[in-house]
């Protein structure tokens, strides 16, 4: 029997400490390898601490809510055998981990005595969220391209032969290529000295403008198991929760020509210290105006308690994609902000979310959410409500479309709003009225700013 000390791992770049938010085990519990022991929250995300060993929990080193420094022993586990002298296997980098995570840190630390000198030990690393397949663990490098990533290897900007090399092909191949409308300069040659063969033409016709299968390409049968932990797990859980909600999704098109003109004018004439305006601050203020008429859309529905909490303050969540996944920074009290203030806050939060420096407070507490895929916006989306809210407004891509003005077609900048509502507490009629109100505000942007 030995004792195995588990320390708070280095959970992310620049993170020195984390808040213990949950214990998943108590003293005396039997844990197996990879069982989740605890959840800690950094200012970036919640990270779960899995057990690197099998054994019985002997000691817990912190209370929920306590801030723990990276490297502090938080759990001790009684294990079979000689304990933690050699530690567990090297675990791959966690998804959040950055390159500066030295491989040595991944080595679980050894500790001879029960609680003797933990501070001198290497910090343990216990977040193996990227597990190599057990069948061929050391043989399969993590970077090995899987069939799913193969299209990324298309030579979209590459060329099949070095600069200055002319394509080499027999007269018959040249003739065939010409008649098929193929530019041989784009066809890679598999023959001797890079000669283009009839088979290369076949492959080119079959597969289009990308290199033919090179020598040495083999079928990749590896399957990579990626543990869903941390932020991804939290997103997964929240989406599962939200998906219980019967959604009603309402899509309406909005003419944003006037709004875009106004936005462009304001951006041109703005002072240097004023933030650059995007669509979002306008939409937030329109939401504020619409919510003034329909305050029950700015609410949390606690379905377990059977209570709707209608908020006075409009805290607008803005769904943002970050390297680690979806986060929703919140612009608080949009009803108390003017356009520039709103824009500044949007920009600040977006930057913080991207950089991973948004605080927990900044990432929670929204009462209504706006979701936008930006340039990828698409025609229609079916947004999932940010539980426990009751409404979410999705912004689709602005496209110039011909619009019949009664006499002729005119080009207008059109944008769809795809909005979802909790149909248990919001009727379809109310949803439509809400969206139509936003539409009217946006199409005549002056009304967003009119008092009374």
């Amino acid at each position: 029997m030995g004792e195995y000390a588990i320390k708070l791992p280095d959970v992310g770049e620049g993170v020195a400490e984390a808040e213990l938010v949950e214990w998943n085990v108590k003293v005396g519990d039997v844990v197996r390898e990879d069982d989740v022991l605890a959840a800690v929250m950094t200012d970036k995300a919640t990270v779960e601490i899995p057990s690197p060993v099998e054994g019985t929990i002997a000691w817990l080193g912190a209370e929920v809510g306590e801030t723990v420094a990276v490297g502090t022993t938080i759990v001790k586990v009684d294990v079979q055998g000689e304990g933690n002298v050699t530690g567990s296997a090297v675990t791959p980098e966690p998804r959040k981990a950055e390159s500066d995570e030295a491989a040595g840190k991944a080595e679980a630390a050894a500790e001879g005595e029960a609680a003797g000198k933990p501070q001198k030990e290497e910090p343990a690393r216990q977040e193996p969220n990227r597990q190599a397949p057990t069948s061929s663990a050391p043989a399969v490098p993590a970077a090995r391209p899987t069939p799913g990533t193969a299209p990324a290897r298309r030579f979209s900007s590459g060329v099949p032969r070095p600069e200055g090399e002319k394509p080499l092909a027999s007269p018959a191949v040249r003739l065939r290529a010409r008649e098929a409308g193929i530019d041989l300069r784009r066809v890679p040659g598999s023959g001797p000295a890079g000669r283009i063969t009839h088979e290369d033409i076949d492959a080119f016709l079959r597969e289009g403008d990308r290199p033919a299968a090179g020598k040495g390409r083999v079928a990749d049968t590896s399957v990579q198991e990626i543990r869903v932990v941390g932020l991804r797990r939290r997103i997964s859980e929240r989406m599962t929760t939200a998906n219980r909600i019967p959604h009603i999704t309402y899509v309406e098109e909005v003419d944003v020509t006037a709004l875009e003109e106004l936005r462009a004018k304001l951006n041109t004439g703005k002072r240097a210290d004023q933030p650059r305006l995007t669509m979002l601050p306008f939409l937030m203020l329109a939401l504020v105006r619409a919510i003034a008429d329909q305050p029950h859309l700015n609410a949390h529905f606690d379905d377990e308690a059977g209570i709707i909490r209608q908020h006075g303050g409009v805290h607008v969540g803005m769904a943002a994609q970050t390297a680690s996944g979806l986060v929703v920074p919140v612009v608080r009290h949009a009803e108390a902000r003017d356009l520039w203030d709103c824009a500044a806050e949007v920009n600040r939060l977006a930057e913080a979310a991207r950089a991973g420096t948004a605080s927990r407070d900044e990432l929670t507490g929204s009462t209504i959410t706006i979701t936008s895929l930006g340039a990828l916006g698409g025609v229609v989306t079916t947004p999932i409500i940010n539980y426990p809210e009751v409404a979410i407004v999705g912004v689709n891509k602005i496209m110039t479309r011909p619009v019949w003005d009664g006499g002729t077609f005119v080009p207008r900048k059109m944008m769809n709003l795809s909005s979802s509502f909790d149909h248990r507490v919001i009727d379809g009629w109310d949803a439509a009225v809400f969206v139509q109100r936003i539409k009217a505000l946006i199409e005549t942007p002056a009304t967003i700013f009119m008092e009374g």
Partner: protein
């Protein structure tokens, strides 16, 4: 005035023009070809074919003469041979005549309408032909200019009298005692060699420092040696000043000299025939002396194509033929470009020279590492048995992937290997492809295989 309309009009029935017309006819294109003289152009009537006939006759005669002189290595002795050049020329004319008929027959078979006369452009779509029966107007959707080239004259030495071009040289009925050849290019040397073999005292004069300046010295060395053996005087860096009472006045190193010459053969090059057919009327873009064409042989005027010698170097029949075939297919609606890897060139001197692709010098300019393999005919069994040990085959390849860039050869009868050389380049062969092909034994062709092996570092027979 009579008028005919067609889809394709070809002006000039040389090797470029008649091939174009035949191919067009095969493709069902309504085609008319105009030619002032007999079909076949310079090549068939006064160039390639007749000169090769004369060269062959001269070779036979020279061999007999050597035998008569007791110099036959194979032990044949004959009495002193004589040649009736008029008969030789008649034989040559009969070959030419058969070929004229052959081309006419092929044109007819392809349902091409032939119009005899001199064509002249009125505009890009209309040509007027001056025929025996009066002017004939031809309107065509597409016109191919295939007017060829003519020998270049020297201002101090205009053609006429005893100053002759290759055309007259091929129809002499008597072997001149003395023959001065001005211009040491391939035409002058081919004919000079033939007349030397027939018994003329030949002097070749050129301003260049050596003969056949477009070839490297290694290639021309066996030719120069053979000329010397035949008693041909080669005067390089020598200028022709003019004619003076039956002698040619030349100047070398500031010193003037007079050459006795019964005939003076002027072979200082050929120029594209860009006058006399109304080029002014259509105002095409030019590329120096030549008509500018693109990779589809299109000129600057829509629907007007140009092929052959009138479009540039190398002025060779087989280039014109390939262009003609291509243009016919383009007119038929096919997508074609002139994408040939190599245009072989042959010099029918003694021994013959063949070049395809890049010479070592040209290949070096690409900046690549090269592999060069040379195999001499001295080490080739078949060459020995035909008493033709002079010369070699040389192959130039890239060092990084052994892709063959060029092949040069000099040797007796080597012209027949040109097709293999061209095929090698056109197919994109590597040294290993040549080396790995069984070359029949005993043939001179083994030399190319050995040259490739040599370049690869493991020749067997040297």
């Amino acid at each position: 005035m009579k008028e005919i309309s067609c889809k394709l009009l070809v002006i000039g029935a040389g090797p470029g023009g008649y091939v174009c017309a035949i191919r067009a006819g095969q493709l069902g294109i309504d085609t008319v070809i105009v030619e002032a003289n007999k079909p076949g152009g310079t090549c068939l009537n006064i160039g390639c074919i007749p000169s090769k006939a004369l060269i062959h006759a001269a070779d036979e005669f020279a061999m007999a003469a050597e035998m008569a002189a007791g110099h036959s290595p194979v032990g044949i002795s004959v009495s002193k041979p004589e040649i009736d050049l008029a008969k030789t020329v008649a034989w040559k004319n009969q070959i030419v005549g058969r070929l004229n008929l052959g081309v006419s027959g092929l044109l007819k078979k392809a349902q091409v309408k032939s119009v005899q006369g001199t064509a002249r452009f009125r505009d890009g779509r209309t040509v007027e032909v001056d025929t025996e029966t009066g002017p004939q107007v031809i309107r065509a959707e597409n016109v191919v200019i295939a007017t060829g080239s003519v020998p270049v004259e020297l201002p101090d030495l205009p053609f006429g009298g005893d100053v002759i071009s290759s055309t007259e040289a091929l129809s002499l009925t008597k072997v001149p005692e003395t023959l001065a050849i001005v211009g040491g290019g391939y035409i002058g040397l081919e004919l000079g060699t033939a007349f030397a073999k027939l018994g003329s005292q030949v002097t070749v004069v050129d301003v260049a420092p050596r003969i056949l300046p477009q070839y490297d010295a290694e290639l021309t060395k066996p030719v120069a040696a053979r000329l010397e053996a035949l008693g041909v005087t080669v005067m390089t860096e020598t200028k022709v000043k003019g004619l003076k009472s039956g002698t040619v006045l030349v100047e070398a190193n500031g010193a003037e000299q007079q050459l006795n010459a019964e005939k003076v053969l002027l072979t200082v090059g050929r120029r594209p025939l860009t006058s006399g057919w109304g080029l002014d009327e259509i105002d095409l873009d030019m590329d120096g002396r030549f008509i500018r064409i693109d990779e589809k042989c299109r000129t600057s005027m829509r629907g007007v194509y140009a092929i052959g010698d009138v479009t540039g170097e190398p002025m060779l029949a087989h280039r014109a033929m390939a262009q003609g075939e291509m243009v016919a297919e383009i007119v038929a609606g096919h997508d074609r470009v002139f994408d040939k890897m190599a245009i072989p060139a042959i010099c029918f001197t003694d021994p013959e020279i063949v070049t395809v692709g890049l010479s070592p010098e040209e290949a070096k300019k690409t900046g690549r590492e090269l592999r060069i393999g040379i195999f001499p005919f001295k080490a080739n069994g078949r060459a020995m048995t035909i008493a033709g040990e002079d010369g070699f085959v040389r192959v130039v390849a890239r060092a990084d992937n052994n892709l063959v860039l060029g092949i040069q050869a000099v040797g007796q009868g080597i012209s027949e290997m040109a097709s293999a050389f061209s095929l090698t380049l056109e197919m994109g062969a590597r040294l290993e492809d040549i080396a790995g092909t069984i070359h029949a034994h005993p043939t001179q062709g083994e030399a190319i295989q050995e040259a490739a092996l040599k370049a690869l570092g493991h020749a067997i027979h040297i």
